[in-house]
Subunit: 205 residues, 4 copies
């Protein structure tokens, strides 16, 4: 049996995504071997996390809070050179970051902060959908041509969420698109599922 504090930390780390008890224990002993200053420095940062980080009031990407914890705009929302009429709707910020890496999109984002599971009816309320609705309506009020790109994952939850959004926003008569399905780089036709092949065929260019 480990000392109490170590046991508690192991328990805490097992709540980290994808971490089992063994790796959690390894984390604690890594910290014990690390330089004390560095570890306390890490603790400091973790402590400051909720105090210094907030979410963009427009797209809900993470941002450093301003003076007096003022909700700020994130980099892309504040960037005048980006096309505010094209909104890429993503499940989580990691998707946004990965899309940015491609440097092929110059519009803006909206982080739903989750997905709707087919089973969970209360789902939609948890996501930033009302805010998205408001955001789109404001653009329309400014007589802007809006395109909403549904960039949820091509998974059951992602598709359910996209479907829900399509239904919710169709009354607004805006252009709603979804990321194209097809063959991923490196994949093989022999092992591709029918739906993917069908989409690759439809999306041939």
């Amino acid at each position: 049996m480990y000392p109490k504090l170590i046991q508690e930390l192991i328990e805490d780390f097992t709540h980290f995504p994808g971490i089992g008890p063994r790796q959690a224990a390894r984390f604690v002993f890594y910290l014990l071997k690390e330089d004390k200053m560095r570890v306390q420095n890490l603790a400091e940062k973790i402590k400051r996390l909720h105090e210094e980080i907030g979410f963009c009031k427009q797209c809900f990407a993470s941002v450093t809070l301003g003076e007096g914890k003022l909700q700020m705009l994130c980099r892309s929302c504040a960037d005048a050179k980006r096309d505010s009429r094209v909104i890429m709707v993503v499940e989580k910020e990691a998707d946004l970051q990965n899309i940015e890496k491609t440097h092929s999109f110059n519009g803006m984002y909206h982080v739903l902060n989750g997905v709707i599971s087919p089973l969970d009816s209360s789902g939609p309320a948890k996501l930033h959908i009302k805010e998205l609705l408001m955001r789109v309506k404001n653009l329309l009020a400014e007589k802007k041509q809006v395109e909403m790109i549904l960039a949820t994952n091509p998974t059951t939850e992602g598709d359910t969420t996209a479907l829900y959004l399509e239904r919710t926003f169709s009354p607004l008569k805006i252009k709603i698109t979804r990321l194209g399905r097809g063959l991923t780089t490196g994949s093989e036709l022999e092992y591709s599922d029918p739906e993917t092949i069908k989409n690759a065929f439809i999306n041939r260019r």
Copy 2:
């Protein structure tokens, strides 16, 4: 050391795609345990393989040879209800079979029987490209509108091959398309490579 015949068979089976010595040995002992009649029956079929199976004279998919080993047309090439003006070019027959499963394509196929590796200059000659060229020219001679769909794998070899075909056939001024790239069902944006995301963005619908 196994008896000579067993050793030889193990050696032979190690040449089967993806089979190492251990599994090869397991194959031999599986055959030794199997009913003698069934094993000799299997041997019979393997013996007949080269004698009874040939390749479609038009698309090079496998076919049962006719009387006097006559080269025949495969099922899809012989099917009048299929659109002979749309040719899906695939690397190997397994791809063709998997595409057929989707029931979303009603054109015809052309099996290249391999790919061009970026390193291997002699590559093209090994593939059924001359025959494809002839096939397309015949269609054009009949004043037909031809579409050639390059359905090689989205891999380095597959792309090299597609590129080579595009160059070879562009003088013919036919419609040349490629299977659409994008997100595969079940994949996640967070882990998708830039190229795939870029394509998914371009192919959004």
Copy 3:
């Protein structure tokens, strides 16, 4: 759909241990690409398998049949320099081969040709246990000091089989041993199961 003969061969290959339909198809196309002579040569060998290979009348390892399909003794059983009083009992011949690779055992073998599953009561009858009993009794008749090493796998089936053999042979008052349990090369204490550690502790040297 593939031609009938190809379909049948794919079906046959899916009965090979560890082979699914896709790899089975790859096998057939590998054979179709292979040189005709080599393939028919392979078929020949498969055909001869049941005719030319038998099993050692003493230990049931595979042997090349002699004139008139005479049951012969295998290499190790025929080897006068090996100690016939020490019998290593293995589940299958592949185990025997792997043990021989170590060059650390100079006794003889007995291939059970399977295991007893805890659920399958009819199991023992299928294995070469009667023959083993006879073999041991003959040695005892010659006033020989016999050691029987149970080299079944350290799995549930293997242990069940070993237990059954211990019970069956204990009346003969011979020395019965089992392969030692402990840490395998490359394994890690942190991930080893309690039983293995316990055995490693007991077997410390």
Copy 4:
């Protein structure tokens, strides 16, 4: 690009054993989603780690520091019912914990806190070997019969370390044993390496 604090935390988490940038990012967003109190609580514990946890002055397992950060004895070292003459030498505390789970060892431990890599000559100095030497000498001074069980992993590093310890302690004429090698539960003879089989044969019982 994430806000600076998030970037820094991602960077920090990538130093955790077995964590890449993607999972590190997931950790940060997990913390952002978590309840603020729980997160700051975690930070608190991490901060206290180096202040409250020390290492047993005898065996170097982790212990809660006493008043005035006094070095204490760990549970097993303080346990009078355990046999202080048998010392199980392990690479790290996780091994000790896993061995304890077996409830088959009633001696004491010594945590080396690492291994000697064959390449790294400075290695030994980093490990708690001097302390082990002192510990053994004290036991011998008390005219005690000492057994030292080398429980390093059966890996190249572990074996190198064990070899080094054997050389270092042989002059003391104490009983030095190593955990037994053999078949691990669930493993298969067909796939076992020669050394393991050889040891299983030698350790047969």
